[in-house]
Symmetry: C2
Subunit: 332 residues, 2 copies
């Protein structure tokens, strides 16, 4: 990659045609104009964005391309939307290998196919050596709100159950192991996956009882629960023994002195569900390949407001706060 690939002139066009247009071809993107014309869509739209600065770019279970699709698709899915379109902004460091870029874009394309979304518009910039770290991506996503979907963090109320779709912390540990920051043999792979289909299953089966959905990424389950507790002005009690965490992840957390509930996930769903729908919701999650290890891990309580606490296996209580400090930079 050279700076001329970011000039907007001939070299940019050649790069865009050889990599992005070739790998991501679809009728909306193909004109390669500066903006994409979308077909009219009925109903409400949902709009979201994330930048991706994960280190390393390739890790067990995924890479920055797959992450850039799944992260944004999942933000749409947990808002109750069917993901439709993505934009793709690429910031490349001078000297970055074209072969790596192609591999990332191919992975991105495969994830987009899994998620049923199309990349319809994009932009490429190149910065000097030492002014980035290989490549940073940004995707923005547009989805169509499912009819009747009424999800909000503020909607949680006492008695609601807290469900998670599977084991927590895999992404965080996979990244740390890939960075060789942990002196650990581990088979843990990132869970990076698009959750749109799992969410659709859940809403089809128990939609009337689903108050709020989140994908607990940066900051982990603990941060996502604290956001809900603050937004809804309720408390959340989590049964520590019910939270699914892989043995390798638990071991890594002990070495690091961090809580697995602060680790990032990139393919897990957090659902707050009315008690009378909890069983139907759990069944719907477990019926999906991405939710086989789903569990009910806690409940909404009226006090203490705005706080999350763990009921530990030895019968105690412990405040579960948002992630503080910088334990895990560049996890996504």
């Amino acid at each position: 990659m050279t700076l001329s690939h970011g000039s907007g002139g001939k070299a940019t066009r050649a790069l865009v045609e050889a990599i992005f247009a070739a790998e991501l071809a679809n009728p909306i993107l193909d004109p390669l104009d500066d903006a994409a014309l979308l077909p009219p869509a009925a109903g409400g739209l949902v709009f979201t964005t994330d930048s991706y600065v994960v280190k390393p770019l390739f890790f067990p279970g995924g890479d920055i391309g797959r992450l850039a699709v799944c992260g944004t698709v999942n933000d749409l899915a947990v808002a109750g939307a069917t993901p439709l379109y993505l934009s793709l902004g690429v910031i490349l460091e001078e000297g970055f290998p074209i072969a790596d870029l192609r591999r990332i874009v191919q992975s991105l394309r495969q994830a987009a196919d899994e998620a049923g979304v199309r990349v319809v518009t994009g932009d490429t910039k190149v910065v000097e050596r030492g002014k980035a770290d290989g490549v940073y991506l940004n995707t923005a996503g547009i989805g169509r709100l499912r009819p009747g979907a009424q999800l909000a963090a503020a909607a949680a109320r006492p008695g609601d159950r807290v469900l998670v779709s599977g084991r927590l912390g895999d992404h965080g540990v996979a990244i740390l192991v890939a960075r060789a920051e942990l002196d650990l043999e581990s088979e843990v792979r990132s869970d990076t996956a698009p959750l749109h289909d799992l969410v659709a299953n859940l809403l089809d089966a128990a939609g009337a009882g689903v108050r709020s959905l989140k994908d607990p990424t940066r900051g982990g389950l603990a941060t996502a629960l604290n956001e809900i507790a603050l937004a809804a002005d309720i408390g959340i009690a989590v049964e520590e023994s019910q939270v699914p965490v892989a043995a390798d992840v638990r071991g890594a957390c002990e070495i690091l002195g961090i809580d697995p509930l602060h680790l990032a996930n990139e393919g897990k769903l957090l659902a707050i569900v009315a008690p009378e729908y909890a069983t139907a919701a759990l069944t719907a999650l477990r019926a999906h390949p991405l939710g086989r290890e789903a569990a009910i891990v806690g409940e909404i309580v009226s006090e203490p407001r705005g706080m999350v606490f763990l009921r530990t296996s030895i019968g105690g209580h412990r405040v579960l706060d948002m992630l503080a400090g910088d334990a895990l930079p560049r996890i996504c």
Copy 2:
């Protein structure tokens, strides 16, 4: 700025609330959820994205925040859309001063107000010292297609006139002078401005005759014209003497040995207009504060296809190619 501001936990929330939520407040953004719910909109939508890596961050006539609004708004405007919503992705370098971030976000807010758009969703990441250059921004934009707007680079046909809305190259020279790469006293200011209103004036007055619009940013007028020549499979003849270029810009280009038509603009419009609408189009552009120096600078010809050439003031012809090489990295 510390890495913990990018953790997704407490520090991220504090930063987002203190800077982004405070400066950009609006009812769609305010819930600070991971995705924004947009009201239903009739008609076709237009979607675009750009990343901004301009160096320096602050320059005469603008800064990266103003640029990040105008660049994306202008991509929507030249597609024939009324800009509505922006997303904002922020990649910060560890150690970046919070005061500078606030200044950038305030400028961004002011430009958004000028352009009539709202930032409705966003994301903040922090990377280690030496892995970025202060701050990089990405904005994606959604606009509503104007009824009847049928603009396409491929629509240009022989006889059409080529109009520009004012002096070319100001942004490029302002950036170069601000970088002190030019040993030059200059009062040139970037033209960074939202073009939505100028475009609306033009389409109201001469819409039926407007074939194609572009904002000639990276790669300048020359690159934008070459894109049109390729897409429409026609030739474009530019009258060199008719192209408005400020004396300071012309002088800087002579020193640098570059063509002002390869310099970036961030507040100029290129319009391809049917001949019978050319006068109405020119009048409409000149009636707007951003188009006072608009000019007809050339015409579409049938041969040579896919090429742009200059008719020079001494009666010769010269091929005007896309920008090649890396003369001007990080201009936007």
